[in-house]
Structure formats: C-alpha cells, structure tokens
C-alpha cells in the first residue's frame, strides 16, 4: 500500500494536475473599466503564484493562478482597493504571497542594508581620498 502511494506520488507531476473545467470567467478577460483593469493587472504582477515558484499570477498558466486572477479582477471590479485584496491574501498565505513586501521586523534589515552599505562605502571612500590628498 505504501509502495503504491509512493508510486502515485511520483506520478503526481504538475502536468497531471489539470482539471477538466475551463478557466474562470475573469481569468483571462479584461475588465470593461480600463482604470480598474490597470489596477487589477498591477496587483496581479506583484502576487506570487502559490503553485509555481518564482512566477507572478499574471505570468503563470497554472489553473490556480488563473483562478486567483479572476478573484483579483472580481474584487477590484467590485470597488475593493488593491491593497485590501493583497492584505486579504497575505492573511491566508503569509507575506510570501506578495512580491511587494512591507516594512516589518523581519524585512527591516533588507530595507536598511543598501543604505548601511552605501554609508559604509562613503566612509571608506572618504578615508581613502583624504589619505591620498596628504
């Protein structure tokens, strides 16, 4: 039984994970209102597809990504702010679903690092230049 289960798991490639239903209505159909479509599209480009690594839901052909695009369009069409839709998804999947991480205790070093490195570089350069002038 265990061997059979393991065998079935091996067969479970992403290619096999395709249902027989067509994509959701709004997965690949633009919203009639161009401003809303633009907002929805911008949000889709910064949301991670949760079944495919390193792709946004805007770029992915996965069924779940299509369903998530439909969800984003539906909510934006209903007048919801893109930030609220992002927050709703982060509540469920964690920060990793977002490609636009906010400032938090965990991400603070990431935001601060470039500034700190720049400051360190400036200090280093100043010291070197001063010495050369002498």
């Amino acid at each position: 039984m265990k061997a059979l289960a393991a065998l079935l798991l091996l067969l479970a490639t992403p290619a096999a994970a395709q249902s027989n239903l067509p994509p959701a209505e709004l997965a690949d159909t633009q919203l009639p209102d161009p401003a809303r479509e633009r907002a929805a599209r911008a949000l889709m480009e910064t949301l991670r597809c949760v079944v495919c690594q390193g792709q946004s839901i805007a770029d992915s052909d996965a069924e779940l990504a299509g369903d998530m695009r439909a969800l984003v369009r539906q909510r934006v069409a209903a007048g919801e702010e893109p930030a609220a839709v992002r927050a709703w998804l982060v509540e469920r999947y964690g920060e990793q679903v977002s490609y636009a991480p906010g400032l938090s205790a965990a991400s603070a070093p990431l935001w601060a690092a470039p500034l700190l490195l720049l400051a360190a570089g400036a200090l280093l350069a100043r010291g070197t230049l001063k010495r050369r002038r002498k």
């Binding site: 079935l8 798991l9 027989n20 779940l64 369903d67 998530m68 469920r92 990793q96 280093l124």
Partner: protein, 172 residues
C-alpha cells in the same frame, strides 16, 4: 586607514553571493500550512456537487475534517483509503471538490470509496484560496466551535492516520 578595511566590500559581496546561493538551493516553501490555523473557519457556502447530497459550508456543523480534493488529482487516489479509515474511526469528513464535474466525482467515489458527509462544488478554486490552500489534496481539522485546529498539506498517508484520529477525538 587600515589596509584590511579595503577588503571589506569584497568580503561583504562574498557573503551576499553565499546567501544567494543558499537561497537558490533551498527547497521552495510553497507547501506551508495556511495562516488560518488557530483562527475561525472563513464563512462560505458551496452548492452541492451531487444532487443527492448537501454542499459544504464554512460554519458550525460539529468537529470535522474538511477535505479538498479533485477527481482529476492523482495523489487524491493515494489518500482515499486513509479517508475511509478515518470515516470508520468515527470522524466526520466534508469535502470541497475543486474544479470538478458531477459525473467525474461520481466515478471517483465509486472507484475509490466515499467517506464524505457533504460535498461542495468549488469550480473556480474560490474556497481553496479563501482557506489559504495551494493544492489538492489538503485537509483542515475544524473543531466544534468552528476554529481551524490543523492543516494537513498533501495526501494523508497511512502514517498520518493515528495522529489525525487522536487529534480529532480530543475535540469531541
């Protein structure tokens, strides 16, 4: 100015490359449990997948497992015998059929057993996303007060059964 300080940028760069390489080699972290564990089950109400049985909804129907599956999902076949075992152990299992058709579900249940009390139809994965799930099969353990107590990602294999049974019994 000390000479060695000039090597600091290169050292920092080497550390950066090291961290980046480690990040590239690490197993991607998609298969994480939903952040909703410990929180109330979101409200939803799915239409019945089969005319003979009610659909699954989000709220208060006693302690239960909510199983997300698809007739098109191969690991769901591997999981099916364990779901039957859990049913025999007295657990209630409600199903959310992801992106599925009644005739396919009927065939799947005839072939692999039918442990479900309710079966809701989720044709556009809406409830799946609402639950913070990223694939099938996945299973949520919900207590009598409607709190999500655990989230099992991937098929329930024989070695997971005893644990799930004792967790579920503790809720009764």
């Amino acid at each position: 100015m000390r000479r060695w300080l000039l090597w600091a940028p290169l050292a920092l760069f080497a550390i950066f490359v090291g961290v980046a390489m480690m990040g590239l080699r690490r197993e991607p972290a998609t298969l994480t449990p939903s952040r909703l564990v410990g929180q109330p089950m979101p409200a939803f109400s799915l239409p019945p997948m089969l005319p003979s049985r009610p659909g699954t909804s989000g709220g208060g129907q006693g302690p239960r497992l909510v199983n997300l599956f698809g007739s098109w999902c191969v690991p769901c076949i591997a999981e099916a015998p364990q779901l039957l075992q859990l049913r025999e152990a007295g657990l209630t299992i409600d199903a959310v059929a992801i992106r599925d058709r009644p005739e396919d579900v009927r065939r799947f249940l005839a072939e692999h057993g039918d442990p479900f009390r309710f079966i809701g139809s989720d044709p556009i994965s809406h409830v799946q996303v609402t639950l913070g799930s990223s694939g099938v099969p996945e299973t949520f353990l919900v207590d009598g007060a409607g709190l999500i107590r655990a989230h099992h990602v991937g098929p329930i294999l024989p070695e997971h059964v005893p644990d799930l049974v004792s967790q579920a019994r503790a809720l009764q």
